[in-house]
């Protein structure tokens, strides 16, 4: 079975995880792996930092989306161009966003939906919002539908909610580290997204997994630096095995592991290396 099968399960994959777990790394690696399989791939960045473009390598398109730009474009394409101009010049976008919370998330998701509908790509990978706002972001359409009774934003929210709820159109790929707190957090997020929001969850990506056999401590004199270093490494690997196992036991989701790299500097070469490794995992 192709270990990368999951990449074609849905056209839109939203990569989500708490700060510091390596969401951008995972997005880049998945995009690279998908492009290497011959898929037409688009990566979408939401945080305004164009890091992905420097990581994914050839054959992957990048799109940077920001809420104000997405809102302006939305109004433009919905025959509200004059309103858009007015809102932009008077700086009222913030007011609009406050009056109807989640509106900025919805226009961003709406833009993603529009790209999805264009059928220009086989896979749209979204580097989800920073700092663990994934739940708020993904539940914004459903929440707005409860609040707003009419108007164009409501219909936009309804269309986006439909895309998110359709397992053939979108899935969420959660990212975590094989450590206690990140595993606890990913389990909570998974329940919220699946049970409360009804979204399809793809595999959980376990990033920076320190794989390898335990080192034989008895080969080094106890009290030596060699011994202490081996002890440290074994303890880390033991933690990674234990936490990954706990993740398996707690969540009925497939797992994809990205190995801990020798260097913590992420570049095109390391992304390509991780992507190549992904394809041969069993």
């Amino acid at each position: 079975m192709n270990p990368l099968q999951f990449l074609t399960d849905a056209h839109v994959a939203i990569v989500a995880g708490k700060g510091g777990v390596g969401k951008t790394t995972v997005t880049a690696v998945l995009a690279r792996a998908a492009a290497d399989q011959g898929l037409r791939v688009l990566v979408v960045e939401l945080d305004g930092k164009p890091t992905l473009a420097t990581l994914v390598g050839a054959g992957v398109q990048c799109l940077a989306l920001t809420p104000p730009a997405a809102l302006a474009e939305y109004l433009q394409t919905h025959g509200l161009g004059r309103v858009a101009k007015r809102l932009a010049t008077s700086g009222v976008i913030e007011v609009v966003a406050t009056a109807a919370p989640g509106i900025d998330d919805i226009v961003v998701l709406g833009k993603i939906k529009q790209v999805e509908q264009s059928r220009s790509y086989d896979l749209i990978l979204v580097d989800g919002p920073a700092a663990g706002h994934a739940i708020t972001f993904l539940m914004a359409p459903a929440n707005l539908l409860k609040l707003v009774r009419g108007g164009p934003i409501r219909s936009q929210a309804a269309e986006v909610a439909e895309m998110l709820a359709d397992p053939a159109r979108s899935q969420v790929i959660l990212v975590t580290l094989p450590e206690t707190t990140p595993v606890n957090e990913v389990v909570e997020t998974a329940h919220a997204l699946k049970d409360d929001a009804g979204l399809r969850l793809g595999p959980v990506v376990v990033n920076a997994y320190d794989e390898g056999e335990d080192l034989q401590l008895d080969l080094a004199p106890s009290g030596s630096a060699l011994h202490a270093a081996a002890e440290f490494r074994n303890a880390r690997r033991e933690l990674h095995r234990r936490e990954t196992q706990r993740l398996t036991d707690t969540l009925q989701l497939a797992q994809v592991r990205l190995p801990l790299l020798a260097s913590s500097v992420l570049d095109k070469a390391s992304v390509a290396e991780l992507a190549a490794g992904l394809g041969v995992q069993s």
């Binding site: 809102l87 700086g91 007011v95 009056a99 934003i153 606890n184 992420l266």
Partner: protein, 360 residues
């Protein structure tokens, strides 16, 4: 005495800044533990901590918006609370309202509930507001605050002005007109600009917004004065900013960005803490063995050393920018899940047992 020791002995307010996932909350709690050992009455304000931290602090039921005193044995006291943005905002409204009726009209307005829950910067604003309230509270002589895990965590510094700016906005002035001219909500919603907004978000939502601003009228001055007090406190010389980072290129870049912003605002960085450092056991001695199991041990020590040296290189630009010597906390075999674990972090922070690579 390290920069961290110096900061702890002089500061009344300590603000921990850093990007998500660098151990900011744990660091804030460990600093609080040290303060209590030093005999101070310290309160730690956390924002959305993992439940595990509440466990680590010995608070089985979890933290609340009101400070809870922690069961520790030390000359001072350690209290902790978890910021509830909406409750704090409600308190601010109640305190500034002319009468209970005005407070009720605001607190029950759905536009207000949206602001309290989701206006960009509200969480940061309330963290700053809470910091001032606790600073003025006689029960405490040190407040340690963990900044929200937003992309731009230093919005915290501008946050008190967010609402003031919001209130001064021409659109809101327009929305508040009815009270001045005796107009009704419906006629104000008919204004061309507002009507445009209404076409996008729906007229009911807009009417709620207008009703909110009508109810809010008269409270602007109180809010603005309070915001100025918060800003004065943040700029005061007994407020110290600690940068928390991990030794990775991206988190160091974020930390440098925070450092620049703090410097621009004339605040400066009091101390730097680098968490999750790879421990350095030095270069392996002797020649690389040939046999399979032994070479693995040799290579392991060599790799950890290489990693540690690289990590110090990543941190070097931050050190150069800030002229501060970081306190390093090594990566531990597991998470902190009890007070003993937290005390271990405290000891690592304050006994200066930096990894050997720190000298390179």
């Amino acid at each position: 005495m390290t920069e961290l020791d110096a900061m702890m002995s002089t500061a009344d307010v300590v603000v921990c800044c850093g990007s998500g996932g660098v151990g900011k909350t744990t660091t804030a709690a460990a600093l609080g533990l040290q303060a209590a050992r030093d005999g101070r009455r310290c309160v730690v304000v956390t924002i959305d901590p993992a439940k595990r931290l509440a466990d680590a602090l010995g608070v089985p039921g979890g933290l609340t918006n009101d400070p809870i005193r922690l069961p520790i044995d030390s000359p001072g006291e350690l209290w902790a609370l978890m910021l509830d943005t909406a409750t704090t905002f409600d308190g601010l409204v109640t305190a500034n309202a002319a009468d209970p009726d005005q407070a009720t009209r605001i607190l029950t307005n759905s536009f207000y509930r949206n602001i309290a829950g989701s206006l960009g910067g509200t969480q940061e604003y309330m963290a700053a507001e809470r910091l001032l309230a606790l600073h003025l509270d006689d029960r405490f002589d040190l407040v340690i605050v963990d900044t929200p895990p937003t992309r731009n965590a230093l919005d915290f510094l501008d946050a008190p002005r967010t609402l003031a700016r919001f209130i001064d906005h021409p659109v809101f002035k327009l929305m508040m007109m009815p009270t001045r001219r005796g107009l009704r909500v419906l006629s104000i919603v008919a204004q061309p600009l507002l009507r445009s907004i209404g076409r996008v978000i729906g007229t009911e939502v807009l009417a709620d917004a207008v009703a909110f601003f009508q109810a809010f009228d008269g409270m602007q001055t109180g809010f603005r004065n309070r915001a100025d007090e918060v800003i004065d406190l943040l700029h005061g010389n007994t407020t110290a900013f600690v940068l928390v980072a991990s030794p990775r290129v991206d988190t160091i870049e974020e930390a440098r960005f925070f450092a620049r912003r703090l410097t621009e605002k004339g605040l400066g960085v009091a101390a730097i803490i680098v968490n999750r450092a790879t421990p350095d056991f030095g270069e392996p001695e002797g020649r690389r063995p040939r046999s399979a199991p032994k070479v693995a041990l040799f290579d392991n020590q060599a790799e950890l050393h290489t990693r540690s040296v690289a990590e110090h290189q990543y941190v070097a630009p931050l050190v150069a920018d800030t002229d501060r010597l970081p306190t390093w906390v090594p990566l531990l075999p597991g998470d902190v899940h009890d007070l003993d674990g937290l005390d271990q972090i405290r000891a690592l922070l304050f006994t200066g047992s930096a990894p050997a690579g720190a000298s390179q």
